[in-house]
């Protein structure tokens, strides 16, 4: 129960940050990338503020032996710069450039009751499911060939 309440609080702070920063507004996000046109540099301030606070906070928090309500810190251990990382990031960027929505911006935008946010999120979830299916088929396909 306490875990859910703290997660709800973190979600509320996150959603407020996204809304105040302008990240729930696809037009503002696209204008950040339109240096040759209607450039709006605001997104650099969003990322700067977020990274600085997180970097300082993580250094204080990760000094502790474990988180408050869990037994261990769940930190990514993969260090390899592999093809799925780069290709995936490249494809994500194309989708972000078409729509102006990233996952972190689109979920709070659902709270604004906008049809475009709903269409984006449903499509994004479909894309996640398709990619997981493809990864599963690739993995098991390889296994059955060797069996």
């Amino acid at each position: 129960m306490a875990r859910a309440l703290f997660a709800l609080l973190a979600g509320l702070v996150f959603g407020t940050g996204i809304a105040v920063a302008g990240m729930a507004n696809p037009a503002k996000v696209l204008n950040f990338f339109d240096v040759a046109g209607t450039w709006d540099p605001s997104l650099a301030f969003v990322l700067g503020g977020a990274v600085i606070v997180t970097a300082i906070g993580y250094r204080l928090v990760l000094r502790r032996p474990k988180p408050l309500l869990d037994t261990t810190f769940h930190l990514p251990t993969n260090r390899r710069l592999d093809a799925p990382l780069i290709a995936g990031a490249a494809v994500f960027g194309i989708g972000w450039g078409i729509t102006g929505f990233c996952p972190g911006g689109s979920i709070p935008a659902l709270g604004l009751g906008q049809t475009s946010a709903v269409v984006f999120v449903v499509s994004m979830v479909t894309g996640i499911a398709l990619a997981r299916l493809a990864r599963h088929v690739l993995a098991t396909g390889g296994a059955s060939r060797t069996a």
Binding site: F6, G17, L85, A89, I94
Partner: protein
């Protein structure tokens, strides 16, 4: 045209960082929207509670701001046609799954940890997003 909002964006960004620190301090989790949403799509997962609660908070906050201060408090503008939103949404979903993260997971949490994978991912998606926007707006003259 959108208004340049350095102070609001810096403050909003700091709040996003605060949420990331809170989720790490209490749950020991990276505040990456890709991982949080994706984890909810795994039926055998046992930790759906905090994920669902985080998403509920993230959706409720802008709704509450608009309810109290009016729609002008959270500007929203999207001129992208719905079929393109669907195509772009599927590409985002596929991309972030293979990249294991997006703007929040790699961009905020990963850069804060100076993760080489996240630095590579952010440089890559920033480049392809910029190229895509340039092509759509200045080559095809579209949205």
């Amino acid at each position: 045209m959108t208004e340049f909002t350095p102070l609001a964006s810096l403050f909003g960004g700091a709040l996003i960082g605060l949420a990331a620190v809170l989720l790490m301090a209490v749950h020991g989790r990276i505040a990456g929207m890709t991982g949080i949403v994706s984890g909810l799509m795994t039926p055998q997962g046992t930790d759906w509670g905090w994920r669902a609660a985080f998403l509920a908070g993230a959706i409720a906050a802008p709704a509450a701001i608009v309810a109290v201060l009016g729609p002008a408090a959270v500007p929203f503008e999207s001129v992208v046609p719905l079929p393109w939103l669907a195509v772009g949404g599927i590409l985002v979903g596929i991309g972030v799954t293979f990249a294991s993260g997006c703007t929040s997971g790699h961009g905020v949490c990963g850069l804060a940890r100076l993760s080489p994978r996240s630095i590579a991912a952010v440089l890559t998606f920033m480049a392809t997003t910029g190229i895509t926007v340039f092509i759509i707006r200045h080559v095809f003259g579209g949205f």
